[in-house]
Symmetry: C2
Subunit: 214 residues, 2 copies
Amino acid sequence: MVDCHLPAMKDFVIIGNKAVTGGKISLNDLPGSAGRMDVLCRCVTASLFISFGMRRDVNVYLILKGEPGPEKIVRFCGATMKSLNPDERSSGSMIQKALLVDAKETETQSTPGVFVRTGNLSGLLEEFKNKCRKLVYLKEDGKDILDADFKAIEDPVFILGDNQGVFEEDEALIRDAGAVSVSVGPISLLSSQCITIILNQMDRNEMQNLPAEE
Amino acid sequence: MVDCHLPAMKDFVIIGNKAVTGGKISLNDLPGSAGRMDVLCRCVTASLFISFGMRRDVNVYLILKGEPGPEKIVRFCGATMKSLNPDERSSGSMIQKALLVDAKETETQSTPGVFVRTGNLSGLLEEFKNKCRKLVYLKEDGKDILDADFKAIEDPVFILGDNQGVFEEDEALIRDAGAVSVSVGPISLLSSQCITIILNQMDRNEMQNLPAEE
């Protein structure tokens, strides 16, 4: 079923190529035994936090592709999020709790504003397409986000890799789903830094589009 | 002595209003008992890391103003940094080691690329002035970094507050030192996010200023 009348959102999908999918992860070793979960934690902070509050119009989908499987999707929902702090350990703790849930194909809320299910990139892209969402792939050779074309994109879903990038198989899925490629400048940056720059640019675009005061 | 002929650098000064100045800090509680040291750790990552390497032309000065005193300055030097990873625990661990050093008025290297000394904002600003460095104060009501004036600033030193901002006394020091105020957009962001946006803008400026290929 296609539903094209949802409230405006900004969604981020981050592919965690080695991010573990089960067991009790150690908050003292997010980069190591948890499969570079620190990268995903920084992406959560970059997506949801501003100086004195939270971006309530943002969802973050973490795709965990690591051992032992099956793949899982952990969603941080800005609209209903509670008790999240910007430090890596805080989001790491929520991922830890999500991984202790017996995940099904439909979402289970593990802590307020955090949801977990089994699922993969292919299925998630299909869902976004069914909701008429515009897919935007973060890629070094993409068009600069400062370009006019980007400013016209409403309700975007941004798809990023982790420290390993996006492997060919996933890249093919993203391209087949019709994603446009964009870049954030002349230097390849951390995934979380890319998110910060994208949101800053969207803030600026939205400010320009506000109606003038009477 | 005034020395105006140093190699081009970008420096960041972050004021840690409650960041502890002694004792063995707990890497499991950087936000709490260490006095929001997590904010400073994220600033280190934002300043020094790019996707596959480190910004060698950046120094990060963390001004620790918390208990028990006296105030200390921990410097992360991009040019000589070793063994630093982008996760908060990694920079936190280096700050932890720096705080175990018996700090003097001159720098002591605590781990490769990390230096500690006693000192405060006032003295540091004086040092930068003596080196003819341009001081730039990150402030919501400052001029937008996209403006032409900002692009002309060479060898800038950016000064930022932590989650508590910059208190009046420090703000007076910064203004008296002749800093220009700049902002990074319409929304007040985390200190680390401000650093990411500044560096992205500087990357873009530098790319524009490169000589055209023959």
